[in-house]
Amino acid sequence: MELRLAGVGHSYAGREVLRDIDLKVPEGEIVCIVGPSGCGKSTLLRMMGGLEQPARGEVLQVGQPPQGCLNPLTFIFQDFALLPWRSVAGNVSLVLEDHPIGRDEARAMVADVLGRTRLTEFADALPRQLSGGMKQRVAIARALVVRPAVLLMDEPLSALDSQTRELLMEDLVGLWTRQPFTAVYVTHNLAEAVRLGHRIVVLSRRPGELREVVSLDKPLADRGYGDADLEVTQKHLWELMRAEAAAADAELLRG
């Protein structure tokens, strides 16, 4: 299944935040969306996941979601959004409870994703006992358990420190390499974009417009911390964004 955006635009209280976005998210690829703060990238992601309605244009899902998919468009949030009163396993099983799945099968599915995200031994821990990186791994496990067609990640690593971010990026690459998934990854961190993106979409400052789409052919598994060719792409992205980011920053200061 792939996602297609056609002429998507949006305004909040008369202020235009997104203009004329045409975009394709092909199956099995990670599309990163980068842009200066306030450019509407998170709004765009919420529209892709049906949490917000675009004022103009439309978001289309093309093709059927894979078999056994329980929630085709699945989010991973920046602030993890775990229920603090449920254990790790309880948080994961929450999203299965509204589906007609037997208790044993659900338990097996939860055990499977916890194994894949290396959380098995923390199944009974409460969120407050976990570090930020572990919390986000629980959120990733919760997203994987519904077998999504497209993962929608909203700055998933932005609340984490840089070492944890590096480890989790490796986790995501590992998960993708074992079983390629389709994802839209919103971030303001260009290093994350060049590590995880097959395509990188650059948005301009408000109102967000498509500035450029950069394709990266190097396999995800071969990309590493501080690779020279990635640095070149990252620098190119930064040059694209620099003036925009500065202008966006000044705009915020003026209120």
């Binding site: 996941g49 049906g50 949490l51 329980l70 929630n71 468009l73 699945t74 989010f75 949030f77 602030d79 959004a81 229920l83 603090p84 009163w85 449920r86 929450l94 999203v95 409870e97 509204d98 409460l126 969120p127 407050r128 919760r142 519904v146």
Partner: protein, 264 residues
């Protein structure tokens, strides 16, 4: 300053809560001992304050004569029925206000209008509506607990983390699941905090209701003692109320520890 340097002075600490259970008992005991000593030596005249040992003796007589339970059981029943009615209705209405904009627009001004009414002033009205018997007492207590519970509940529902609700929606949870599994537990701390206040108000109203037309009950007992200026019995009644308040608060504490163990 020489090369050896001076030690950096510690200036942090404080402003946190530590468990010091015994301090409460010490304060109680010290006040009681002071009163006992004062009344025995004559520093405090027996007309101004009854001797604690006399109050204890009166309490003992109350217990051995069997009158204690004759007064206590109707009171507890009234408190239980009235508070249960008021609190459950209050939580229900609070949820409706928290969840539906229309209900909020319609009921919040009404609740604000009802809240400042001294409920005791309405007792004659309740007597006409629900009869002079238990009905009017239940209604008074229920009405008094209802308003603070409503306000606490809808504020608690408003405070539930919206990102958790968005998360529920993004995973396709149905509306009822979101309310039951996300909104209800998320609002629980606020609801329980509200109940602490509501139940204290319920005890106050219990006594008020019993002072106006009840044969048995703590309130009736206190009123009778008061009109005879029998300070020992008056204080014995007041002590029962205090103990009741402490017990209610302890019960809520236990519920909080059970239900809210996910907080730190």
């Amino acid at each position: 300053m020489d090369n050896q340097g001076s030690k950096v002075v510690f200036r942090g600490g404080g402003f946190t809560h530590q468990s010091r259970r015994w301090v409460g008992f010490v304060v109680f005991a010290a006040l009681l001992l002071l009163a006992e000593w004062g009344t025995r030596t004559g520093v405090i005249s027996p007309l101004t304050l009854p001797r604690p040992s006399d109050v204890l003796q009166t309490f003992g007589e109350l217990y051995s004569s069997g009158l204690l339970f004759q007064h206590l059981i109707p009171s507890l029943l009234r408190l239980l029925v009235g508070a249960a009615l008021g609190a459950s209705l209050g939580i229900g209405v609070g949820f409706l206000i928290g969840l539906f904009s229309f209900v909020r627009a319609g009921l919040v001004p009404l609740v604000a209008a009802i809240f400042p009414i001294p409920k005791i002033a309405l007792l004659p009205l309740f007597v006409i509506w629900f009869g002079i018997d238990e009905g009017s007492k239940y209604a008074l207590i229920a009405f008094g607990t209802f308003t603070p519970t409503v306000v606490a509940t809808f504020a608690a529902v408003d405070n539930v983390d919206r990102t958790l609700i968005r998360m529920g929606q993004s995973f396709g949870l149905d509306w009822f699941s979101i309310v039951r599994k996300i909104v209800l537990p998320g609002a629980m701390p606020g609801i329980l905090a509200g109940l602490r206040i509501s139940l204290a108000i319920a005890i106050i109203l219990l006594v008020a209701a019993e002072m106006l037309g009840a044969e048995y009950g703590i309130g009736a007992y206190i009123l009778e003692a008061g009109s005879l200026y029998d300070l020992e019995r008056l204080f014995a009644g007041v002590v029962i109320l205090s103990v009741l308040g402490v017990l209610v608060s302890a019960v809520i504490g236990v519920i909080e520890r059970r239900l809210l163990d996910w907080r730190t």
